[in-house]
């Protein structure tokens, strides 16, 4: 049965516990010397892939990341959690800011074809840009079915049953493989990469390639105009009656 191969995409982001500070020139946030880790939703994706491998439903798990050389740390964490090998699509640090969901989706699509995988797993969104687009775009480029916001994934023969968390409740889909799945919070609880596994993962391979090797164009039509702190919250105003409330709202031009 275990002939399936999975590709898991992981992103290196600023650690969720860090207090973000905007750079004085407003071009972005301070990343120098700041603690980074694997995007929490990507961890869930890696965990799911490794669990499928442990259940002998998936034969090989490949971890991939796009970005500067530090991404290899993130790939190593995925390897320590149980992925078999890694691919680092190297992007020089200066250009890394312009690599967004569309560019990554192009890379993942090409890799999925090159590696002949049956399943592409990603986190639903990254905690730095909150785009929630990469998985969907990848499926679109590959013309594969997609199950996003997955809270449960079950393999049924050549089909994948995906339970999705949507606004109204839970939706269950059956996807024909190959497919793209993006993971949501309640899918699983990722394991710790134990120190002995980190040591063992040192022997696993990470292939380093460039986007151009895959024939992918990383150019973007988007530019960041400015990054600013949200406005400071000011005190609210208390009113006595509903009429006062409506009058006040009209006053500030909200209605």
């Amino acid at each position: 049965m275990a002939e399936l191969r999975a590709l898991v995409a992981v992103k290196r982001v600023i650690d969720f516990a860090v207090k973000i500070r905007v750079k004085p020139d407003k071009t972005g946030v301070v990343t120098d010397g700041v603690k980074h880790s694997m995007n929490p939703f990507c961890e869930i994706a890696v965990e799911e892939a490794v669990r499928l491998k442990e259940k002998k439903l998936v034969k090989e798990v490949i971890a991939v990341s796009c970005g500067p050389v530090q991404c290899q740390e993130t790939i190593r964490t995925a390897l320590a959690m149980g992925a078999d090998r890694g691919i680092h699509v190297e992007v020089p640090a200066a250009e890394a800011d312009r690599v967004g969901p569309l560019q990554v989706a192009r890379v993942l699509a090409k890799l999925a074809e090159r590696e002949k995988v049956d399943l592409v797993l990603l986190g639903k969104q990254a905690i730095d840009d909150d785009c929630n687009q990469t998985g969907q775009m990848t499926a679109g480029l590959l013309d594969w079915p997609q199950g996003t916001f997955a809270s449960q994934v079950t393999l049924e023969g050549a089909k994948l049953k995906v339970e999705r968390e949507i606004d109204g409740g839970l939706e269950t889909l059956r996807l024909k493989l190959p497919a793209v799945v993006t993971t949501d919070l309640r899918l699983n609880e990722p394991r710790y990469a134990t120190l002995p596994n980190i040591m063992k993962a040192k022997k696993k391979k990470i292939e380093v390639i460039k986007a151009s090797d895959l024939g992918v164009d990383l150019s973007s039509k988007l530019t960041v105009v400015s990054v600013e702190d949200p406005p400071q919250r000011t005190a609210g105003v208390k009113v006595e009656t509903t009429e006062d409330l409506v009058a006040k709202l009209k006053e500030v031009g909200r209605i």
């Binding site: 190593r76 990469a193 134990t194 002995p196």
Partner: protein
Amino acid sequence: MSRCGLFLRRAAAAGRACRALVAFTASRRPLRTSPQSRAFAKELCLGKIEKNGVFPFPEVSQDELNEINQLVKPVEKFFIEEVDPQKIDREGKIPDDTLEKLKSLGLFGMQIPEEYGGLGLSNTMYARLGETISLDGSITVTLTGHQAIGLKGIILVGTEEQKAKYLPKLASGEHIAAFCLTEPGSGSDAASIQTRATLSEDKKHYILNGCKVWITNGGLASIFTVFARTEVADSDGSVKDKITAFIVERDFGGITNGKPEDKLGLRGSNTCEVHFENTKVPIQNVLGEVGGGFKLAMNILNSGRFSMGSIVAGMIKKLIELTAEYACTRKQFNRKLSEFGLIQEKFALMAQKAYVMESMAYLTAGMLDQPGVPDCSIEAAMVKVFSSEGAWQCVSEALQILGGLGYMTDYPYERMLRDARILLIFEGTNEILRLFIALTGLRHAGRILTGKMNELKWGNVGVAMGIIGQKLRDALCQTVNMGLTGKLGLVHPSLEDSATKLEQNVYYFGRTVESLLHRFGKSIVDEQLVLKRVANILINMYGMTAVLSRASRSIRTGLRDHDQEILLANMFCVEAYFQNLFSLSQLEKNAPENLDKQTKKIAQQILEKRAYICAHPLDRMS
């Protein structure tokens, strides 16, 4: 000045006449057969800075650094998300599933070689992980009690069979280890232990009898490193009582535990009495040589000591974060606490202590990671003394920043204070370690100086010239240059002033040591108040060297925020310099700053009556 002139003329004449002699003695110079020792602290006692071991500051390769950072991440994550230090302290135990997770993370075998299932970490990597586990004191001491001392003997001197038999299960945490040396009557005086191991009639077992006290992990352990007296036949046929180390399994029988001790701090860690009653230990379980137990015990304790520096530094860095949050938000007198000088001073203190501790700890770890078996026992002891006292001071100041809140059990400060108090006591009390530091250094200096005196008697002109030159320099008050500053200096120019201060201290200290040995001779062993000052000066100087070395490297390699490093390094060096000057002046003959005689007299009078003896202020002559 005329005396100088006479001196000069005499010296010149001697030089001219003895150049031939110098050539003669040079050809008779003995061959150097021993390897160059990294005797940094010992050389300080001779007024020299042994630069090889301490400059440049030890570095790890980028690969190693990546590996260390990788290893730290999951441990940090685990401690932040799943360890509740308050609960561990309140309930007096580490939850079973926390212990299991620590085992599966691999934290029970950090320094056990990989071939036996451990992580085989270097001292530097081990020190780095120490910073992360310091988030909970009880867990830290459970882990270090197990591996830094409990099983370390097997790694250091165990036979292949012993290693293969015991290390794998110790690495996975299936078995926990404990170090059994202390007895009710033998604490600091470890050599006086009374536990006895007698060889059985069939010479296949030792029968172990005795009582060990305050054993960390005593109730959890299944493998004990036990130190006991054995009869050893000397080479000349006489029978002596010497200490031997044994690997004892709980399954050998006859081992009982007392109840867990109710402690001030580290309440989650298990500490209890361990009793051995006719426990049969197979002779294959002798650890190291029969009779070599005391030396092994000292080696074991020395090898783990340096990590206290990084463990405490990790804790203080966390403290700074916690208290800064508070100081920057809390307002009194309509201003934030962080704007007040007295509060700012506390942060500067914590940052400085953490900086010095880190520098000393990683310098020592780097020295220990050098090939060969370097003897860094004095340096490790210095790290331990500085860190334990720094910890106590910093936690106290942090608690003070919080004011009344710091005193409440809802906040972690009182627990951290209680946990930190033991640091000055266990692993060698700071009093004993100060004596050890001072005496080892002085003994080395004494040996070299006596050697020099003998050479002088034999007509070694090189030595004579050296001594004359030194006296000349003293008389002319020339500045000292030991190669730290200047164009080819090892220290970066922005630290030049501090480096010069260190060189001056070292030189003055070397002369003081000579004068002390001259004044006291062998009886210096009993002059504890003198030895205390010698140790304090040595610790300060090691600290100064460590920060100068580290800061120089940070500036030269362009690490971020090195301006703060320059500030911290210079600030510490200036403070230490003046502290040293005061101690050195107290060590001079008949120094008015020295109140030792009075101290001893007061103590004598009190201890005679075992009470405070002065009349009450309200008393009258009736």
